[in-house]
Subunit: 346 residues, 2 copies
DNA sequence: CTGAAAGCGCTAACAT
DNA sequence: ATGTTAGCGCTTTCAG
């Protein structure tokens, strides 16, 4: 591993001239530059990031914490983020918090020790102390999918509540009055917002809410659904608050031969591959996953490069209602065309 | 940021005592240790990895290169690997090569510059020069999903050819004689092996092969399928060589109202969520994704910790034929039970 | 415009 | 068992 000093020796100049050429820190005579460049190529010099960090610089590395990399939603996010980071000259230290705030915190601190230039996180709790310490030490942080309570944090989120309301409204227009909302036990921002959207919309229409909570404590959807069906008034539509829940619901419905779209309308939050393979195809709220990732990196880079010093901004991205057939909407020629699913470019 | 020297000063001992306590390098008197530990806690010391790297140590970081993090197969791999790495005290530098050998190489070299302790890669070409340079500099490398031609490389792969043969055999047992194999234009190990398995099995049975290549050059499946159907003998079964291709096939079949399982048997390689949501459910070859990731990390750690110095081993993992209904097999009570999909723990 | 020296935090090697 | 020193590769500072 040749060092800066080696280059200097070969080029016959001082170390600082080499440093200046490499970093373009200051003016250097054309002749010196030529000699240095030649020497660099000749011995194959590559700067040591470790030495720079030791001198107080930050690593050209971004940190990324998501709950689960295997989750299609986060996988697409992670992919975009890593790509954008690479294009900007950064590598990505990526970790799954496994939905645990303790792991999230621990990994965030390890990343800080490594002098990452910035951090993108899908925080498990809105009130993280590592975030405060991070900001204190000047580390830019962008929250994704869920905001941080700290007013100084940038965040990229979507209009969860609004999306939820639009979806429920659509169901109401189909004449549904008893809409079951399926959620899980996680008390996270997105779920809560979506639930609120559902509740508000139902109440505004003068209707009762009906919520099925799925999870280790409450049990699976399959376990709870029979008794839900047995209780009047029977729901005629199901709104699943994320892709995983939608899949669970659909799977159970298929198993029990409840005909989706006929016996029971089914709609979901998050678009997923299977949504267009099933007949009828599932109506969903689509989140702009790719855009979210791009935005997060863009905001982070702004902070890193010191271009922005204002207090934290919340970028709220628009969701899209993808009306297909599972809500009761009829088939249409254009609707039946197989569309490429966003984010699945391969 | 308190340093080792700071701790030494506060504890009233020499720097090396502190270093020894922190790293457990050598015996230290109980008293000194107590003083040091107290001082560390008091001023909140945390070791600087950069300084260690400068001293010639390696970072406690693993590199991971996959073609595409958004691809469900690799997303699950990545998740497992990152988890196993974390459990072993390593962070993971993760990057998508976007199926391009140039990006793979470039990122691998950046990782090496950062002094990663080991690298797991899904190589785009079997013959990478960065790998050679890596080994030369003592960097352990494990290839995943596809082997490297270098005999000294560890690899974790599956029995692609055998799996393919078993699948085709199953189709033959159903009485199919004209089986269409759908593949893509990527000339990668897995695809080639699976194709070979198909071809060998067909030839062994005295049957002709029929291959539909999908890609930018050849065109989409939808474009080619009509003419395939028009040509005698008409295929009665389709074998898609990966999950993405299977989805493309299924989507087109749905669109053209070809009834899967009745008009046309459809089977795939790689299990995917949608496979069990569709009726009939899709018969597939399941790869042990989680096991692959775990194995890769385990092999890498062995090398890193110097426990193994033998030449490269190829670990070949067994695949599993998941017989469902799309191949023509009848429904059975146990088969209909919704199973949890491996790797999707959330 | 260029160079020399000091030092970032750590540990290997050598004292004690 | 413990302390001291030198130096990893780089940049900041100060002198030319």
């Amino acid at each position: 591993m040749p060092t800066l000093a080696d280059v200097a020796k070969v080029a016959g100049v001082g170390v600082m001239s080499v440093s200046r050429v490499v970093n373009g820190t200051r003016k250097v005579s054309v002749e010196t530059e030529k000699k240095v460049r030649a020497a660099i190529r000749r011995i194959g010099y590559e700067p040591s990031e470790a030495a720079k960090i030791l001198k107080g610089h930050r690593a050209h590395v971004l940190g990324l914490i998501v709950p689960d990399i295997a989750d299609p939603f986060f996988a697409v996010c992670a992919n975009v983020i890593q790509l954008a980071a690479r294009e900007a000259g950064y590598m990505t230290l990526m970790v799954a918090s496994d939905h645990q705030a303790t792991i999230e915190k621990q990994q965030a601190e390890l990343m800080m020790q490594r002098q990452i230039a910035g951090l993108i996180t899908v925080p498990m709790v809105a009130d993280t102390d590592y975030f405060v310490r991070g900001r204190a030490s000047g580390l830019p942080i962008v929250a994704m999918d869920r905001p941080l309570s700290d007013a100084d944090a940038d965040a990229v989120i979507v209009d969860n509540r609004d999306a939820s309301m639009r979806m429920v409204e659509h169901l109401l227009q189909h004449g549904h009055r008893n809409i079951l909302c399926v959620t899980d036990e996680e008390k996270i921002f997105t779920r809560l917002e979506r639930l609120t959207g559902y509740t508000q919309c139902m109440h505004k229409a003068g209707l009762n809410t009906r919520i099925c909570m799925v999870g280790p404590v409450s049990g699976t959807f399959a376990e709870q659904f029979p008794s839900i069906l047995a209780t009047e008034p029977r729901p005629t539509a199901i709104f699943a608050l994320n892709d995983l829940l939608a899949v669970e619901v659909i799977r159970h419905l298929r198993h029990t031969h409840v005909k989706i779209g006929h016996d029971m309308a089914v709609v979901g939050f998050d678009d997923f591959d299977a949504a267009t393979l099933i007949i009828p195809r599932i109506t969903v709220v689509r989140q702009p996953v790719v855009e979210m990732g791009r935005q997060a990196v863009s905001m982070l880079l702004q902070r890193i490069e010191g271009r922005s010093t204002e207090p934290g901004k919340h970028t709220v991205l628009k969701t899209e209602l993808i009306i297909r057939e599972s809500c009761g909407c009829g088939f249409s020629k254009t609707d039946m065309k197989p569309k490429s699913v966003s984010g699945g470019k391969r």
